[in-house]
């Protein structure tokens, strides 16, 4: 019991005895974990930006001049049945006139003496998160309907947004993998350097008859404490960064996006740092011991 107590307290004392080394290790680990956490949060929130952009996708359908409101309602009913259509809203001739007045400030009846604006519809698309939104097949189907004069939509823009999103989504695991790998290497080498700086202690302990376990344990405990410390700093730093982001989004944009953050990430950051620090300490000492 005395021995275990001694080994744990040595782990703590080593941090205090080698403050600068410990500070460097904690800071390096904090930075590595912070970027891993940011990456994970970015991955979790990417779809929110896409959903915001997708909410802006719309198809405008203009009916022939002879199509009355009742007939247009029938056509809208058919449009709603098309796979991928979420909503379809009728815009009557009178509504179109009002919109014109809102946008241009003049009454079209005063200008032309009659209302030339046709009955139209605004169509919103289904926003599935797993598959790209494809507007072209819907537009093609609407165009074949009798009574439809013109269909307007931002085809190339939608295609570009969808293509870019899925391209990023495809590369995200690779980017995350690189960030995690760099973090692992930074943490591993920091720990190795920290152990190597106390080479004399290890060799002296070996010479006075300490077992390998006795030599390794304080370093393992020290690595564990450093992992707790660095992940405990990285977690509030991440929360702070995300909350700042949310404040900016809420006060300086009209996007209506709120970034979410999974608190379980603290556990993952701790597990990642503890595993690497313990493994790094163990291997570094094994390399020094004969």
């Amino acid at each position: 019991m005395d021995k275990i107590h001694y080994l744990i307290s040595e782990g703590f004392k080593n941090i205090w005895r080698h403050k600068m080394t410990a500070f460097t290790a904690v800071f390096s680990l904090f930075l590595a974990l912070f970027f891993v956490g940011l990456m994970a949060t970015a991955g979790e929130n990417t779809h929110k930006i896409l959903q915001y952009l997708r909410a802006k996708y719309k198809i405008e359908v203009f009916f022939d001049q002879d199509v009355a409101n009742e007939k247009a309602l029938g056509l809208i009913h058919q449009i709603k049945k098309i796979n991928g259509v979420r909503t379809a809203t009728l815009i009557k001739k009178e509504d179109a006139m009002r919109i014109f007045k809102d946008q241009f400030g003049e009454d079209i009846l005063d200008i032309l003496g009659y209302n030339p604006l046709p009955v139209s519809a605004v169509i919103n698309l289904v926003r599935a998160s797993k598959v790209p939104v494809k507007a072209d097949p819907i537009v093609n189907k609407i165009k074949t309907m009798k009574g439809v004069a013109e269909v307007r939509y931002q085809g190339s823009l939608i295609r570009k947004i969808e293509r870019t999103y899925y391209r990023i989504l495809g590369k995200l695991p690779v980017i995350a993998g690189i960030v995690v790998l760099v973090a692992v290497l930074v943490i591993y080498n920091t720990v190795k350097l920290s152990v190597y700086s106390r080479r004399q202690l290890i060799l002296t302990l070996e010479m006075i008859g300490a077992t390998r376990t006795f030599i390794k344990m304080p370093f393992i405990f020290e690595g564990f404490f450093i992992a707790i410390l660095s992940s405990s700093i990285a977690f509030p730093a991440l929360v702070g960064t995300i909350e700042t982001g949310n404040y900016i989004l809420a006060n300086f944009t009209s996007w209506g996006i709120r970034l979410s953050f999974d608190p379980a990430i603290w556990i993952w950051l701790f597990v990642l740092s503890a595993t690497i620090t313990i493994l790094g300490s163990y291997r570094a000492i094994a390399g020094i011991l004969k």
Binding site: I208, A210, K290
Partner: protein
């Protein structure tokens, strides 16, 4: 605990080492090992605490033999051996008490016994008032005595002193040898390496002479 070399040889990759050593140091004996720098004194010492394993022949230390010892058994073999080094090898980040207590923690002694033994060892070497000092706050002679306290605190059967007076002035050197003689009187087998013949002559102890890795006589 007895030390015995049987046709033991060890050579380093870059040459030197020791050749065909045959010597026996009896339990409770105080022997000196003398020879010039690079003659193989340290190699011989390292063979005793199994820091090196002979290429040929055998080294027997108590119940341990170099021919059968494994890496796992080496800490056990070192429990009965205390070591004093020319460069002290004290840990600069710990005070004298902590440095001296280190072997006892490694051997799993209970806390109360550690305190008693450390106080006793520091008392024996005359450093009882400096247990809070860091090694850098001590003189060379005091550091060497601290190193000796760390070596004897576990009450080893064998004490190896590798050039312990190498960095000390004549007075401190003489005092250290006197201290080693006191420890030997308590029953500890001692082998002290030195290249200072004047320090060890006339003490009535066996002197082993080593030159170019070969023992010349005793």
């Amino acid at each position: 605990m007895m030390i015995e070399f049987q046709n033991a040889s060890y050579s380093y990759i870059k040459g030197n080492g020791v050749n065909n050593l045959n010597v026996k140091i009896d339990e409770g004996e105080f022997a000196f090992l003398i020879g010039p720098t690079g003659s193989g004194k340290t190699t011989l010492m390292r063979l005793i605490y199994f820091d090196l394993i002979p290429d040929a022949g055998m080294v027997i230390v108590g119940k341990y033999s170099s021919s059968t010892i494994t890496t796992r058994k080496i800490p056990g073999a070192r429990k009965g051996v205390g070591m004093v080094f020319q460069d002290y090898k004290l840990l600069g980040d710990r005070n004298l008490f902590e440095n001296t207590a280190l072997p006892l923690h490694a051997l799993g002694f209970p806390g109360k016994e550690i305190v008693d033994r450390v106080e006793e060892a520091l008392d024996l070497v005359g450093l009882e008032t400096k247990n809070e000092h860091l090694p850098m706050e001590l003189s060379g002679g005091e550091q060497q005595r601290a190193c000796l306290a760390r070596a004897i605190v576990k009450e080893p059967d064998i004490l190896l002193a590798d050039e312990p007076t190498g960095n000390l002035d004549p007075v401190a050197s003489f005092e250290l040898v006197r201290l080693l003689e006191t420890i030997n009187e308590m029953g500890t087998t001692i082998l002290m390496a030195s290249h200072n013949y004047n320090l060890i002559k006339g003490r009535g102890r066996r002197i082993l002479e080593i030159k170019n890795g070969t023992l010349r006589g005793s």
